[in-house]
């Protein structure tokens, strides 16, 4: 419960301006009985994360289907924020999402939302258990028919988002996984095997420790006979890096080269 000096700060996330306006009106109606303030509005998950990175909020009220980044993925990235907000999902009729949420006992509000319902949700949001991330990840993948659109990491207290489209390869070093884009590297807190499963259509595993974007592969090259690091090398488009190909995956690399 918010105390008197500190009203509950709320961020509204929805891609449709009328839906945001409606939510703002409802929150204004509730405000006299329940101290709150709307600290921002975002039109998709990416926008919301950049706002939250600047100014924290206590609660995020988010739509589910949105372009660029949907509400479920937004929640998956919240963990990399300095201060994690609580979440209330709001959806219009969406058969799939509603069924999945019911099945996993995740709370949501149905649009059009009633003021009383909204207030109840805000009152109990602190006590409610957060939906487990693996569950959300599974629902999200099913909903969008694929993995996340972005990966996130924390760097010097800031949240960084990397679009999966821009990642050329992942490389596992000891404890961390790095993602390489054209411009720079990102240190991720992810497991290579999970990434391989989640983005199976986009990346190909050519070495125990490397996952390469299929569309970034420029060609392959046999390693010199005395090379102990790798059996062959993957050449990449746009950057001079080479990635090792293991002996076991060499035939896979060859068949990929033929296919493309």
């Amino acid at each position: 419960m918010p105390n008197q000096e500190q009203p509950l700060s709320i961020l509204i996330v929805d891609d449709e301006p009328p839906a945001r306006a409606r939510l703002r009106e409802l929150l204004a109606d509730i405000a006299p009985h329940f101290p709150l303030e709307v600290v921002g509005e975002a039109e998709n998950g990416v926008h919301a994360l950049s706002l939250l990175d600047e100014h924290s909020a206590d609660v995020v009220i988010t739509d589910i289907r949105m372009p660029r980044m949907d509400g479920i993925e937004l929640v998956e990235h919240l963990g990399n924020l300095e201060k994690q907000p609580d979440v209330i999902f709001a959806t219009a009729y969406d058969n799939y999402a509603v069924q999945a949420f019911d099945l996993n006992a995740i709370d949501y509000l149905l649009k059009p939302i009633r003021a009383q319902r909204l207030q109840n949700a805000l009152e109990k949001v602190r006590q409610t258990n957060r939906p487990s991330l693996p569950k959300l990840a599974a629902i999200g993948q099913e909903l969008r028919g694929g993995g996340r659109t972005h990966l996130s990491c924390q760097e010097r207290g800031r949240l960084l988002l990397v679009a999966v489209d821009e990642i050329l390869y992942f490389k596992a070093d000891l404890k961390y996984v790095t993602a390489r884009t054209r411009d720079r590297e990102y240190l991720l807190d992810e497991a290579l095997t999970h990434l391989e499963e989640e983005f199976a259509g986009r990346f190909i595993r050519l070495h125990r420790a490397a996952l390469v974007a299929k569309n970034a592969i420029a060609g392959f090259e046999r390693a010199a006979g005395d090379d102990v690091e790798a059996y062959g090398w993957t050449l990449l488009r746009g950057i001079p890096d080479r990635l090792p190909v293991s002996r076991r995956q060499w035939s896979l690399a060859k068949s990929f080269a033929k296919g493309s």
Binding site: D15, E16, P17, P18, A19, A21, R22, E25, N44, R65, P67, R68, A92, Y93, D94, N95, L110, K111, P112, L143, R144, G145, G146
Partner: protein, 343 residues
């Protein structure tokens, strides 16, 4: 409301100009020939050559009879059903008889005592058999009309749209009550259309204005993200089409082509006339999100089935898909009130 009530008439002759019917007659007759050939040849060897002989005999009168029936279709429909059937059989008998005499004249067959009767009887028997089959088939498929009704209802305005639209109206009520009023009126028009009897075909112009209304509502919530271009080229606006043929396509384009795109996009709706067909095309940019495909498949299967129920083989749905564009085209025969048959 300018529309004709299309009560299905189970007791009427087939539409001899319908491609599906003609195809079934041809296949049915040839199957009968193949069977006869098998019996005559007394086994598989020699069956095919026997079939050729029979086919050479029967194909010309068969085609002739179909041509005549297609020509006389409207007159036949006006006859009481009993006389209609007799006329069909008489036409078949006449064609067979004509064929026999043509061959006699060409010296391809020898004159036989019962030749006239034989040819005529064969023609009549085959016609009766096929007619019976087509009527049974029509009867078996008449619940399809009820089914079409159900499916049409399902295919119609998605609940997703309903709740979003109501939500948009709610957001207008305080700030722009006038706009909220007209939006509610539009919603009510759309639902009136959705609840109409699916057997009521309506003029194309009405379906177009319905879609315009629908898009107006979507524009309310999507704003500048939704752009629409209409291109209506010399199509007869009084063409009758089954209700809500276009609207689901447009809704599909909004759901799959506009909503997932951060900057929105343009939906292009094109009407063309190609010979005697009406072509309706709905194009939108292709959003590369895989989640779109499943729901899209359901919507398309639905439209395809409805087209089959309403038009049999006369209409088709084509999808033309590239990395950047998604185009759905439906091609329907132009039917105006004058040449329209309840099928």
């Amino acid at each position: 409301m300018a529309s004709i009530s299309q009560n299905p008439l189970p007791n009427s002759l087939p539409d001899w100009r319908n491609f599906g019917i003609v195809l079934r007659v041809l296949i049915g007759a040839n199957l009968a020939l193949a069977l006869a050939a098998l019996v005559q040849a007394g086994g598989l060897p020699g069956w095919l050559s026997r079939y050729y002989v029979l086919a050479a005999w029967c194909e010309p009168p068969l085609l002739g009879a179909i041509g005549l029936l297609a020509l006389l279709r409207d007159q036949l429909w006006r006859l009481p059903i009993r006389y209609g059937r007799l006329t069909v059989m008489a036409i078949a008998a006449f064609c067979a008889f004509l064929q026999y005499h043509l061959w006699l004249w060409l010296g391809l067959v020898d004159s036989e005592r019962w030749g006239n009767w034989q040819a005529g009887l064969l023609g009549t028997a085959l016609a009766a058999l096929l007619l019976h089959y087509l009527e049974l088939r029509a009867r078996a498929h008449s619940p399809a009309i009820a089914e079409a009704r159900l499916m049409a209802l399902n295919a119609r305005i998605r609940p997703h749209f309903l709740f979003n639209a109501i939500n948009a109206v709610l957001s207008l009520i305080r700030a722009q009550p006038k706009q909220a009023e007209s939006a509610l009126e539009t919603i009510s028009d759309l639902f009136r259309a959705a609840l109409r009897d699916p057997a009521d075909w309506l003029p194309l112009s009405e379906e177009i204005s319905l879609c315009r209304q629908y898009l107006e509502l979507e524009k309310l919530r999507l704003g500048e993200r939704l752009q629409v271009e209409w291109d209506i080229r010399s199509v007869p606006l009084d063409t009758l089409i089954p209700p809500l043929m276009l609207q689901p396509l447009v809704e599909n384009a909004v759901f799959h082509g506009i909503e997932p795109a951060p900057d929105g996009g343009t939906i292009r709706i094109i009407f063309m006339r190609k010979d005697n067909d009406l072509v309706i095309e709905v194009a939108n940019q292709h959003c590369n999100t895989p989640r779109q495909s499943a729901g899209n498949q359901i919507a398309l299967t639905n439209i395809r089935e409805r087209l089959a129920l309403y038009y049999d083989l006369e209409a088709r749905l084509e999808i033309d898909q590239s990395d950047t564009h998604y185009r759905i085209r439906i091609v329907l025969p132009c039917q105006t009130r004058n040449n329209h048959y309840p099928y």
